[in-house]
């Protein structure tokens, strides 16, 4: 079976299939988080004045700031790993990708620390609407990280084979997961202030 434009770009649209596909997927993700942000606004308006801010005081801002940095770093290493492939430097790719994965692991570990700290203080999603939306948003974001990691890992370890058989397609794949990864980072950039700071 031979489907056109899986690797090369279609001349009139300037895109290869997966690129359009992933952007459509990201569009749907925007709407998914849109629904949750909308819920956040609704609940915030519904809570007594200032309550959301107050409830949020339990959260650990320094830790979350550090985590934000980690995620931003992983985004840079992600785009660097793609650039390395573009420069035909597979070794560097392996390195950057490895760092990206490592960052993701650290991020999840810190998330785990935060969650357990909350549970130790008997704070659960059912405690109040702030924690309901906090756990939902960060939990769903965490799931996105885990999903992304699975794909990254799949491209990282067996990557050699794919690179050797079809470097161009492999580079495209890295670009595609890269787009997804940056999007997850982007979501966090908004989650961080609305949950921790406001």
């Amino acid at each position: 079976m031979n489907i056109p434009y899986t690797v090369e770009e279609r001349p009139d649209t300037g895109l290869y299939n997966a690129k359009l596909g992933v952007w459509l997927f990201l569009a749907s993700e925007v709407m998914l988080f849109g629904g949750l942000f909308s819920a956040y606004i609704f609940l915030r308006f519904g809570a007594p004045a200032g309550a959301f801010h107050e409830w949020g005081q339990e959260l650990n801002v320094p830790l979350a700031t550090f985590n934000t940095m980690i995620l931003i770093t992983s985004s840079v290493t992600m785009v660097m790993s793609w650039a390395s492939l573009k420069l035909n430097d597979f070794k560097k790719f392996k390195l950057y990708m490895g760092v990206t994965l490592l960052c993701a692991l650290v991020f999840l570990f810190i998330k785990y620390l935060e969650y357990t700290a909350k549970f130790d203080h008997h704070i659960y999603p059912s405690t109040n609407t702030f924690y309901a939306i906090y756990f939902t948003l960060t939990g769903l974001h965490g799931l996105h990280i885990i999903g992304g990691m699975a794909v990254l890992f799949y491209l990282w370890l067996p990557g050699n084979k794919m690179w050797n058989s079809d470097p161009e397609q492999f580079t495209n794949r890295i670009e595609i997961v890269g787009l997804y990864w940056h999007f997850v980072d982007l979501v966090w950039i908004f989650l961080f202030p609305i949950l921790y700071l406001l």
């Binding site: 770009e9 569009a27 801002v61 931003i72 840079v76 573009k86 420069l87 961080f192």
Partner: protein, 102 residues
């Protein structure tokens, strides 16, 4: 990005990526710092959202190459963000509208 880029192009890109990384780090520190300012709720929200939007645009524009992306993608995203704001705004307005009922 298309395969038409030669390696010097990419090397330029890498420089940009590093700048963006720096900018993101600084902005992150800025948002946290801003949260310690004595601002009213509205101002704080506005400031935080502005900073977040700048950061978001940097990520989308440079890491995700949106700045030089094909028109088709840009159109789809504009449509999406339009509906995204509808989804934010209308429930919010309707909440405010119904607040008169107590």
């Amino acid at each position: 990005m298309s395969n038409s880029h030669d390696s010097s192009d990419i090397k330029n890109h890498i420089k940009v990526y590093l700048y963006v990384f720096g900018a993101l780090a600084i902005l992150t520190v800025l948002t946290v710092a801003a949260s310690y300012l004595k601002l009213s709720d509205g101002e704080a929200i506005l400031l935080a959202l502005i900073i977040a939007s700048v950061k978001g645009s940097l990520v989308a524009g440079y890491f995700m190459h949106l700045i030089s992306e094909r028109a088709m993608i840009v159109w789809i995203l504009m449509l999406t963000s339009g509906f995204f704001f509808v989804l934010m705004l209308i429930p919010m307005l309707s909440y405010i509208d119904q607040a008169r009922l107590g």
